[in-house]
């Protein structure tokens, strides 16, 4: 398939004695929305941090557009490849401004590494207008600590959208969000797909995930136990049933 965006082959990652991921292989096509589901400790977040470059795998191969990634896999390389991530912990600096948080690690710089503060402010302002920040009282100079949980999530998502990802990864994006805000996040994900990008997301709410995803990858104790198109699962209940079956099978063995 030539619309393959990312492919992982036999990825293994352990932390000390804990095997977080065991021979995980999966692929993400373009454009599609993939729901990554599994129980607590299934390895979802680890898998996402490998995709986003925070962790380099112990072994296994990563392919981008069919080409194998050589050398050390890092966040900077993932960013360069158009992979943007909204982490579960939001990855924000609460004592600093919205503008600084949007550009952290990728500051707009001029000569001598001097940061173009003015330009960053303007870009952040434009972005906040586009995304539709709920309250007009916020400016790019607002300190993140003064924002609510949902608003902080908004900053994290805005940041990912700003850099126009080819692959947008969201770890529990709707956690702590109201229903309307959740709908908004989903509309961002659908819009990204309409623009030709792909989305991978983790949700604790399978019913939500079922509504929006095209495909599901089910993880259980560090292995991919199932990859299935939405058309092959009749309902969210069926998906939950699959998960339970795998969990039971695992415990029985």
């Amino acid at each position: 398939m030539n619309n393959r965006l990312v492919e992982l082959k036999n990825i293994t990652k352990s932390f000390g004695n804990v095997n977080a991921l065991n021979n995980v292989s999966m692929e993400i096509n373009k454009p599609e929305i993939v729901g990554l589901i599994g129980d607590n400790g299934a390895g979802k977040s680890t898998l996402i941090k490998i995709l986003s470059g925070v962790y380099a795998p112990d072994s296994g191969e990563i392919f981008l557009h069919g080409k194998q990634v050589e050398g050390h896999w890092s966040v900077a390389r993932a960013h360069a490849a158009g992979i943007e991530t909204v982490y579960q912990d939001r990855a924000l600096c609460v004592q600093h401004t919205i503008a600084l948080n949007i550009f952290m690690g990728r500051e707009i710089t001029g000569a001598f590494g001097l940061v173009k503060v003015r330009k960053q402010y303007e870009e952040a302002e434009r972005l906040m207008r586009e995304i539709g920040f709920t309250s007009r009282v916020f400016t790019p100079d607002s300190v993140v600590a003064t924002l609510s949980g949902g608003e902080r999530q908004g900053v994290a998502i805005a940041r990912a959208l700003y850099f126009e990802a080819e692959l947008l990864i969201l770890d529990e994006p709707t956690n702590a969000l109201s229903l309307t805000e959740t709908q908004k996040v989903y509309s961002f994900m659908l819009a990204a797909k309409d623009k030709g990008s792909s989305v991978v997301f983790i949700s604790h709410n399978i019913y939500h995930a079922y509504d929006i995803a095209d495909r599901f990858i089910i993880l259980d104790r560090g292995t991919v136990v199932m990859q299935v198109d939405k058309s092959e699962v009749e309902s969210a209940e069926r998906l939950v049933q699959h998960m339970k079956d795998f969990a039971r099978a695992g415990h029985a063995s």
């Binding site: 966040v75 982490y87 952290m104 001097l114 940061v115 009282v137 609510s148 702590a176």
Partner: protein, 341 residues
């Protein structure tokens, strides 16, 4: 973590004018300035004749730059979430290299180079111990301070190096001379200009350069920094290298001003410089800091030394007064703006 996801509109926060914004953003530096103003009023009331005489301030200008060169980089260290106690010995050992080179016939300007290089190396070693080896910066730098001072003591056997001819050199003229034409204070000390220039550079680096911005990010939340692709270790090592360079400049300046290098050079900096950082409004918990505020802090600390004597009190009061100012100013900063973490 706030659970309320629907933000209540407008009335929750009032919009501020540009002046209010400016004051709010710089409130830590401004409160440092306020502390200085209070001290100035107290001292002037105690002895109006001394504290309206510019000569008094000239005495402060002579010693202040030596501490500014370490206080400014210390703001970076503290904002990055670390601490450093090794800079006094770094100042000592780098200025020793400078002094030994000059003594063996080097041109002072040329002798500055190995001193600065050693400062960079010390910064790399300390930063490497803290980041890659993962030692606590408090303990690692305490150890490095003893270690380097020990090397000085073993190497010199306690013998000082004197430079009676130092005033004739080009480096002295450029770095520690005086600008003629200020008859009231008998010439303006050049190194005060260097000190102020260094503060300006530090401000630029901290607030407008990628290094300073990332120092603040790393100090605020190292996990977030790593998730957004910042190499935390590299940023922290950068801060330690900056301190190494600052300590070298401080040590060499001290040698130039005193025309003498002692095996104890730099030792007296430790507590006053750290006090200056915190009195000036850089908080201990990392993530934020103020170069200008902490420089004012250095001025406050230097001012107390001179002020106590000038106010007609004995030198025995200095430490008590220093302590009082530190505690009171910290209380002031505590109530001046919320702590978010």
């Amino acid at each position: 973590m706030s659970a309320s996801a629907i933000p209540t509109p407008a009335k929750r926060r009032r919009t501020r004018g540009p002046l209010a914004k400016y004051l709010n953003r710089n409130r830590r530096a401004i409160s440092a300035l306020a502390i200085f103003a209070v001290l100035l009023i107290i001292f002037t009331m105690a002895n109006p004749r001394i504290f309206t005489n510019p000569i008094t301030y000239r005495a402060i200008f002579l010693s202040l730059p030596i501490s500014l060169f370490v206080v400014v980089p210390l703001v970076f260290i503290v904002a990055s979430g670390e601490i450093d106690l090794s800079f006094p010995a770094t100042a000592g050992i780098t200025s020793w290299v400078f002094s030994a080179a000059v003594q063996s016939g080097w041109e002072p300007v040329a002798a500055l180079i190995p001193a600065l290089l050693l400062g960079v190396v010390v910064g790399l070693v300390v930063g490497g111990l803290v980041t890659y080896v993962g030692l606590s910066s408090l303990v690692a730098t305490l150890g490095m301070n003893f270690l380097m001072r020990g090397i000085i003591n073993m190497g010199t056997q306690g013998v000082a190096i004197q430079f009676p001819q130092m005033r004739t050199t080009a480096l002295w003229q450029a770095f520690a001379g005086r600008i003629e034409g200020f008859p009231v204070i008998n010439g303006f000390p050049v190194h005060m200009l260097w000190g102020l220039g260094f503060v300006a550079l530090g401000w630029m680096l901290f607030n407008r350069h990628r290094l300073g911005i990332r120092v603040q990010i790393v100090g605020d939340n190292p996990d977030s920094a790593a998730e957004m692709g910042i190499t935390v270790a590299r940023v922290k090592i950068g801060a330690f290298v900056f301190l190494g360079i600052g300590a070298a400049l401080s040590g060499v300046l001290s040698v130039l001003v005193n025309q003498n290098w002692w095996p104890t050079t730099g030792d007296g900096l430790l507590l006053p410089a750290l006090a200056a950082v915190f009195v000036g409004g850089t908080p201990t918990w990392g993530g934020i800091g103020t170069v200008v505020g902490s420089s004012i802090g250095a001025f406050i600390i230097a001012f107390i030394e001179t002020g106590i004597i000038g106010a007609g009190l004995t030198g025995y009061v200095t430490q008590f007064f220093n302590g009082l100012v530190i505690i009171l100013s910290l209380i002031g900063h505590r109530f001046n703006g919320r702590r978010y973490r």
